[in-house]
């Protein structure tokens, strides 16, 4: 193969190797964005938000985050946390707290708590029943 023929492969190979590198990079994270992970993880979740001690209506939660309040997430649990974090970073009129209860592959439920003006807290394994 001549050097000019090899040059014709280079852009395509860079594109493919970039995908492999990103795939390996995302393996070490709890989110999935451009990774080849179709339906790899089944996360059943429920998001609730609280203001002045009262739970916001389901419709308000869904409008705020653009997803159903109770649904399946098929990429990674970290995507839910990232969604809440970025939405709250951009929106005003924050709730006092946002609670995500989620179960990965039907394992015991875990929680993630977002609190206004306080660093986000990673919930530990909760005592809530499995969904």
């Amino acid at each position: 193969m001549t050097s000019s023929a090899i040059r014709k492969w280079i852009p395509g190979l860079i594109f493919l190797f970039a995908q492999i590198a990103n795939n390996i990079y995302e393996l070490g994270r709890d989110t999935r964005t451009l990774s080849w992970s179709p339906h790899t993880t089944q996360v059943h979740y429920h998001i609730s938000a609280y203001k002045n001690g009262l739970a916001l209506p389901k419709e308000a939660v869904e409008a705020r985050y653009g997803i159903h309040a109770t649904e399946w997430e098929v990429h990674a649990a970290g995507n839910l946390k990232r969604l809440v974090d970025t939405a709250e970073a951009r929106h005003h009129n924050h709730p006092d707290s946002v609670l995500i209860r989620y179960s990965i592959n039907n394992h015991p439920t875990q929680t993630y708590l977002w609190l206004q003006n306080i660093n986000k807290n990673e919930g530990s394994q909760s005592f809530l029943p499995t969904l």
Partner: protein
């Protein structure tokens, strides 16, 4: 002027197999109303990689710009000789759409994007090999995610997907025969093995047919069980695999077995000098002749287009069993029965042989 005709596939910077594949994919995306964005943008624009785009215009302007890029790309790849430019625009619009909002993340749409981009980066030297490598990257990437997840080895992932989330009656009945979780464990491990097997088979040019068989074993049961084609994923996958096969430059009319009416009709729509009518003798029409003509002239762009439109209809109205039967029948007629020829001729150049 010939280049304005989407059926005209010859004399481009890329091989006709790729031109045909991306044009059929583009038509499928349009008629099935697919979009670079999956729906609303959830928590707003979210671009983890190209963050500077977050400050460009309003959300409406940004969405409109991505949609315009998508439609312009589709128009260019369908109606001009600049197929690669059109593919690049369409592919980039899908990548940007996928990463523009968190609720739009979709492996199916990302795969469509990568098929377009790989075609944009292809040329006569690479042939269809970049699409083949893209498939290898897809399966290896998906396999890597599964292999490092214990739930795929112990069955928890498949059990949740099939028994808890979708509650598929046939699967629940079958799973009842086995000890708890055993079927899910077997299915999970089988998926890991199959995906790895496909990636390996795609590396060797004369194992393509076996890669396709394993691909059918992996994807088609999911289509039947889950009653979905994962957006444009299955169609893009079928077309990507098809582009690895040799597209015949000539199709010969035989008066004793073909329908002369249908062949003449195909000749009118033949802009690649593909249909050869050496004997102009007419033949009587019958269902058998029509069917034989349909099968023998299956690689004619007009027939392939009609199959894509039919498939879109089957998917739209949920006739998944019929869709799977059509796919398997075409595979049997055009791939399995010609496997020795496919193995000998090979599907195109490879960088590593």
């Amino acid at each position: 002027m010939k280049d304005l005709n989407p059926f005209y596939l010859l004399y481009k910077r890329i091989i006709p197999e790729l031109v045909l594949m991306v044009r059929l994919l583009a038509i499928y995306l349009i008629i099935s109303n697919e979009s670079p964005f999956l729906g609303n943008q959830g928590g707003g624009r979210f671009l983890p990689i190209i963050g500077f785009l977050e400050d460009l215009g309003t959300d409406w302007q940004y969405n409109m710009a991505v949609h315009i890029m998508y439609y312009v790309g589709i128009l260019i790849l369908l109606f001009s000789s600049f197929v690669r430019t059109g593919c690049l625009l369409a592919g980039l619009s899908f990548i940007i759409g996928t990463i523009s909002c968190q609720t739009c993340i979709s492996v199916a749409h990302l795969f469509v994007a990568c098929v377009f981009v790989c075609t944009a980066l292809s040329n006569r030297e690479t042939g269809s090999a970049l699409i083949r490598y893209q498939l290898i990257v897809l399966y290896l990437g998906a396999d890597l995610n599964k292999a490092f997840d214990m739930d795929w080895w112990n069955g928890a992932s498949m059990e949740t997907l099939l028994a808890v989330k979708h509650q598929i009656p046939a699967y629940l009945t079958l799973a009842g025969i086995f000890p708890p979780m055993l079927l899910s464990q077997m299915v999970g491990i089988s998926v890991i093995v199959l995906q790895f097997g496909i990636a390996i088979a795609l590396l060797k040019r004369n194992w393509l047919v076996y890669a396709m068989i394993m691909g059918a074993m992996l994807h088609l049961p999911m289509v039947l069980l889950m009653h979905m084609t994962f957006g444009p994923f299955v169609m893009a996958l079928v077309l990507a695999y098809s582009s690895l096969l040799h597209w015949p430059k000539q199709l010969r009319y035989q008066a004793d077995i073909h329908s002369s009416f249908l062949v003449k009709l195909l000749k009118i729509l033949d802009f690649n000098d593909q249909v050869m009518i050496l004997n102009s003798e007419t033949s009587p029409g019958s269902f058998k002749r029509w069917f034989r003509t349909f099968i023998d002239f299956l690689t004619h762009p007009a027939i392939l287009l009609s199959i894509v439109v039919l498939s879109a209809g089957l998917i739209r109205y949920g006739f998944y069993v019929l869709l799977v039967i059509v796919v398997l029948f075409i595979f049997y007629i055009k791939v399995w029965k010609n496997r020795s020829r496919i193995e000998q001729s090979g599907p195109g150049p490879l960088l590593f042989q």
